[in-house]
C-alpha cells in the first residue's frame, strides 16, 4: 500500500485506466481532477443528465468501449478524491493549481500523472473565423454531447480519420452532410494500406464509413485544396480546387480539422521536455518509453503524443505501472509486455494514418496576406510575414513577441504550429529549428476574482486596504 499523494489530471481513457491500475495495486491517496463535469474525456464524452440516447446511438461502433470505461471510472470514483469541473491552470513548486466550484486551490503532489488530451490541428484558410466554422472535434461534441448539428447543410473538410468518422456520425444522426472535402489524395491511402493493416478492424471501419457516405449520396472529394469559407456574417459556402478545377458548394457550416495536436502546456510547466517527431510533423513530450517525463511526473494519452483512445487506455495503464515501480510496489511484467506489444501495432497504424493524411503545410506559403492566422488577437498572415522579414526572429517565441500571434486567450493552442510552419517556410529553415511556443500560466484564462479569492494568504494586503479605508473615513 502507498499513501504518497498521486494527482491525476484528466479522466478520459488514459486518466481512468491510470487511476484504476493505481487503486488496484494499493495506492490509497489519489486525487483525480477533471475540467469536465464527468469522466470520459472528449472521445467518450458523456451526455448531460436528462439525455436519453443509448450508448450505441452516441458512440456508434465504440459504444462497448465507452460504456466499459465509464463503468470503470464510476466504480473507482468513490475511492479517490475526485474533483470534476476543476481547471488546472498552473503547476509550480510541485503543486497543482486549480480553479473549481469552490474557487482557486493548490494541491501538493508527490507524483503527478498528466492525461491532458488533444485538440484539432488547424490550418487557417480565408474565412475560417466565420460563425458556422467549427473544428471537427467541435462538430462531433455538438452531436455527442448536445444532440445538435453545427448547421443544416454541413461540409466536413480537412484530413484525418476524424473527417470521415464525424461525417458518418452526422449522417447516421439524420443531419444533412453536403460533402467531405479530403485534402489528401486517395493514392496516399493506398500507399499507407500495409501499415494500416496493423489494425485491420480500424482500417475496415474507415472503409465502411466511406462506403456508407457514398451510398447516402454524400459527395467525397479527395486531393482537394481548400480555397475559402465564403460569407460575411456567417458561412454561406466553401470553395475549393480539385484537379485544377475550381468548385463551390453552398453550405451553412463547416467542420475543419487536420488531425490533432497534443495539449502539452501543463506537462511543460511540470518540467517535461518536448521533442520534434518528424513522422507526425509535430512536437510531442519526450518520455523514457514508460511515460516518465520528469522527477515524479508521468504522461499518457493524446496529451503526450497523438494515438487515439485505445492508445490512451494503454498508455494510461503504462504510466500507472511506472508510478508503481517508482514507489517500489509490485509491477506486472506480463501486463507491461502486453501493453508494449499492443502499442507497437498501434504505432505502425499511426504511421499509416499520418501517411494517409499528410498535413498540407505547403499551402501556407500561398495563404493570402489578409487571412487571419491568430484568431484570438486578429493577427494576419501578412502581419506575421512582415515581422519575419523586418525583425528576423530566430524562433516562434520571438515571433510571438514581435507580432502578437499566440498571445491571446488560447495561448497559441490553435495557431502555434501554424506560426512555426510559416516561419520555417519563409526562412527556409527546418521546422524543428524554429521551436514551439512555450507554455505559460495560466494555461487557460482565469478570472481575477477567482485569483483574488486566494489572497487571504496575503492577509497583509487585505489589512492594508482596510486600514486605508479607515484613514479615509476618519478624514
Amino acid at each position: 500500500m502507498s499513501l504518497e499523494k498521486i494527482v491525476i489530471i484528466g479522466s478520459g481513457p488514459a486518466g481512468t485506466r491510470a487511476a484504476e491500475t493505481l487503486l488496484r495495486q494499493g495506492c490509497r491517496n489519489i486525487t483525480g481532477i477533471s475540467e469536465a463535469p464527468a469522466s470520459g474525456g472528449q472521445i467518450y464524452r458523456r451526455q448531460p443528465a436528462g439525455f436519453g440516447r443509448q450508448a450505441d446511438e452516441v458512440y456508434g461502433s465504440e459504444a462497448e468501449k465507452a460504456t466499459a470505461l465509464h463503468r470503470s471510472f464510476d466504480a473507482l470514483a468513490g475511492s479517490i478524491d475526485y474533483r470534476p469541473n476543476a481547471l488546472v491552470w498552473n503547476i509550480f513548486d510541485r503543486k497543482v493549481f486549480t480553479n473549481g466550484p469552490k474557487g482557486v486551490d493548490e494541491i501538493p503532489f508527490d507524483r503527478l500523472v498528466l492525461t491532458t488530451g488533444a485538440m484539432d490541428r488547424i490550418l487557417p484558410i480565408p474565412g475560417w473565423t466565420l460563425p458556422g466554422v467549427f473544428t471537427l472535434g467541435g462538430a462531433q461534441i455538438a452531436l455527442k454531447h448536445q444532440a445538435c448539428a453545427i448547421g443544416r447543410q454541413v461540409v466536413f473538410a480537412g484530413a484525418g480519420p476524424l473527417l470521415y468518422l464525424v461525417a458518418w456520425q452526422y449522417m447516421k444522426a439524420g443531419a444533412h452532410v453536403v460533402a467531405v472535402l479530403d485534402t489528401s489524395a486517395f493514392a496516399n491511402k493506398i500507399a499507407a494500406s500495409l501499415k494500416l493493416l496493423a489494425l485491420p478492424r480500424l482500417m475496415f471501419r474507415g472503409l465502411k464509413f466511406r462506403r456508407d457516405l457514398k451510398a447516402k449520396g454524400v459527395a467525397l472529394h479527395e486531393g482537394v485544396r481548400l480555397a475559402r469559407v465564403e460569407g460575411t456574417q456567417s458561412v454561406t459556402a466553401i470553395s475549393f480546387e480539385k484537379g485544377g478545377k475550381k468548385q463551390w458548394l453552398a453550405c451553412d457550416a463547416v467542420g475543419l480539422g487536420f488531425g490533432l495536436n497534443p495539449e502539452m502546456q501543463l506537462a511543460e510547466l511540470a518540467g517535461a521536455r518536448t521533442r520534434f517527431d518528424r513522422t507526425f510533423r509535430q512536437w510531442v513530450l519526450a518520455h523514457d518509453g514508460e511515460g516518465r517525463v520528469a522527477e515524479g511526473v508521468y504522461v499518457a494519452g493524446d496529451g503526450h503524443a497523438i494515438g487515439g483512445a485505445d492508445v490512451a487506455e494503454l498508455t494510461g495503464e503504462r504510466a500507472a505501472w511506472a508510478v508503481l515501480a517508482d514507489l517500489g510496489l509490485p509491477v506486472s511484467a506480463e501486463r507491461q509486455s502486453v501493453i508494449r506489444r499492443a502499442l507497437k501495432r498501434q504505432a505502425i497504424f499511426r504511421e499509416g494514418i499520418e501517411q494517409s493524411f499528410p498535413l498540407p503545410a505547403e499551402w501556407l506559403a500561398d495563404t493570402p496576406d489578409e487571412t487571419i492566422l491568430c484568431r484570438c488577437e486578429n493577427v494576419t498572415f501578412g502581419e506575421v510575414r512582415a515581422a519575419i522579414t523586418e525583425l528576423e526572429p530566430n524562433d516562434v517565441n520571438r515571433l510571438k513577441a514581435f507580432a502578437r500571434p499566440g498571445m491571446g486567450r488560447c495561448q497559441g493552442r490553435v495557431c502555434g504550429h501554424v506560426l512555426a510552419e510559416l516561419l520555417a517556410a519563409e526562412t527556409g529553415r527546418p521546422l524543428e529549428e524554429v521551436g514551439r511556443l512555450r507554455g505559460q500560466a495560466p494555461v487557460k484564462p482565469l478570472h481575477y476574482k477567482a485569483a483574488a479569492g486566494k489572497a487571504e494568504g496575503a492577509v497583509q494586503v487585505q489589512q492594508w486596504l482596510e486600514q486605508a479605508d479607515k484613514v479615509l473615513e476618519d478624514g
Partner: protein, 374 residues
C-alpha cells in the same frame, strides 16, 4: 584557429543599455561590436512593464530620466519605428498620510529638475481618473510620462544599430575576458576573440560576473518582475497608475489594443539558467488589489503571467560610470527594475564618457565607487 576581430569599442550585453550605447557611438563613427549571450532584448529589457516614467523616481535618477524622456519623444525619427510609444501620463495615487507626505516633499524638488509633476487632491484624482475604484487622499501626476512596447524597442534599436554598421553577435556568451597590452580580449562561446581598447559592461543582471574578471565585486542581487496581462477590453484606463500596498508598488496600464498589464513582485530568478519564474501567490495578491483599484477587472480574466531576470543593487540605483580599477572599462548595469525608460539616455551617457571623458548628465549617484568593490 580562433577568429580575431579588432574593434574600437566592445559592448557586453544586448539589452537596451548596450544597444543604445552602440547607437550613440556608431553615430560618432566608431566601430562597435555588441556581444549578446542570447538574443537582443530578451531579458529585463524585453519582459518589463514598458513604463516610461519620470514620476516618483529617485532624485539621483532624474537627470538621466529627463534626458531619456527627450530621446523617447523622438524615438521614431531615431530608429524608424515608434514601438507603440505613447505619452498618456502617469499617476501615483495615495491613500495614506505618510505616502502623501512623501510625494508632497518629492514634487517641488523634482519640478526643479523640470519633471512637470502636478499634485492632485483626492477629489481631483476621482474626477480625472474616474476608473480608479478607491477613494484617495491625493495623487501626483506627470502628463508627459508614457509607455512603449518593450518586446519591440530593443530589437528595433538593434536593427537601426546594424544599419549604422555595428556588429551585433547574438548567441555568443563571453567565455573568457582579459586585458593585455592596452586591449581587452574577449573570447566567445563561438570560438571568436574580440580585441578592443574600450569595453562597456552592459550585462544587466550578469554585470557583476563581467566586473569580477577585473577583480571588482559589486553587491548585485537578482530580481524578477512579475507581470500579468488581461484579456482585451475597450480602453478605459487612460494613464499608467502606481499604488503602493504594504511597501510594494502595484502598477498597471492598459495598452491601445485593450489588454491591461499589471505588475507586483517579488519573483524568483536564477542567473545560471537565465530563467525567472512567476510566483503564483503574486497573482492572488495583485488581483486582490487590482479589483479594488481597477474594478472593471472584476468580471474579467487574465491570460498570461511572465517574468524575467533583472539585476538589483542595495540602493536600487544603477552602477553607471568608469571602472575604479581598469581604465577603458565603463559599467552600465544593475538598473534594479528601472532601466527601460533610462536605457536610451544610458547609451548617450556611455557615449559621452567614451568620446569626451565626461557627461553633462548628473550620474554622481551611480558611481561604482559608492560600493566597496573588493
Amino acid at each position: 584557429m580562433a577568429e580575431t576581430t579588432e574593434t574600437d569599442i566592445a559592448i557586453i550585453g544586448g539589452g537596451i543599455a548596450g544597444v543604445a550605447s552602440a547607437y550613440h557611438l556608431a553615430l560618432a563613427g566608431k566601430r562597435v561590436t555588441v556581444l549578446e549571450k542570447g538574443t537582443v532584448g530578451a531579458q529585463a529589457s524585453g519582459v518589463n512593464f514598458g513604463g516610461l516614467r519620470t514620476n516618483g523616481r529617485a532624485m539621483a535618477e532624474l537627470s538621466l530620466s529627463l534626458r531619456a524622456r527627450e530621446i523617447w519623444r523622438k524615438l521614431k525619427d531615431l530608429i524608424g519605428h515608434d514601438c507603440e510609444t505613447e505619452f498618456t501620463g502617469h499617476v501615483e495615487i495615495c491613500d495614506r498620510e505618510d505616502h502623501l507626505a512623501a510625494v508632497e516633499k518629492w514634487a517641488p524638488e523634482a519640478n526643479a529638475f523640470g519633471v512637470g509633476a502636478e499634485m492632485l487632491s483626492g477629489a481631483a484624482v476621482a474626477k480625472r481618473f474616474p476608473w480608479i475604484g478607491r477613494r484617495m487622499l491625493g495623487g501626483i501626476y506627470v502628463a508627459t510620462d508614457g509607455a512603449a512596447n518593450p518586446r519591440l524597442v530593443t530589437p528595433v534599436f538593434a536593427r537601426a544599430v546594424r544599419k549604422l554598421g555595428v556588429t551585433i553577435r547574438e548567441q555568443e556568451p563571453v567565455t573568457s575576458l582579459g586585458y593585455h597590452n592596452g586591449r581587452f580580449e574577449i573570447a566567445t562561446g563561438k570560438g571568436a576573440v574580440i580585441r578592443s581598447p574600450i569595453l562597456v559592461n552592459a550585462a544587466g543582471a550578469w554585470g557583476n560576473r563581467i566586473a569580477q574578471h577585473f577583480g571588482e565585486d559589486y553587491p548585485l542581487d537578482v530580481m524578477a518582475p512579475q507581470m500579468v496581462v488581461s484579456e482585451p477590453f475597450a480602453r478605459q484606463v487612460t494613464a499608467t497608475v502606481d499604488y503602493p500596498v504594504n511597501g510594494r508598488f502595484f502598477y498597471a496600464r492598459q495598452i491601445g489594443r485593450g489588454n491591461l498589464l499589471f505588475g507586483r513582485g517579488p519573483g524568483r530568478a536564477d542567473l545560471d539558467t537565465s530563467r525567472a519564474s512567476y510566483v503564483p501567490q503574486n497573482v492572488f495578491d495583485a488581483s486582490r488589489i487590482a479589483i479594488d483599484i481597477l474594478p472593471m477587472l472584476k468580471g474579467r480574466t487574465f491570460l498570461r503571467t511572465w517574468s524575467g531576470v533583472e539585476g538589483k543593487t542595495p540602493d536600487s540605483l544603477p552602477i553607471l560610470g568608469p571602472s575604479p580599477v581598469r581604465d577603458g572599462l565603463i559599467h552600465a548595469f544593475g538598473f534594479s527594475g528601472h532601466g527601460f525608460q533610462l536605457g536610451p539616455a544610458t547609451g548617450a551617457v556611455v557615449a559621452d564618457l567614451i568620446l569626451r571623458g565626461k557627461t553633462a548628465t548628473d550620474i554622481s549617484g551611480f558611481s561604482p565607487r559608492r560600493f566597496k568593490t573588493s
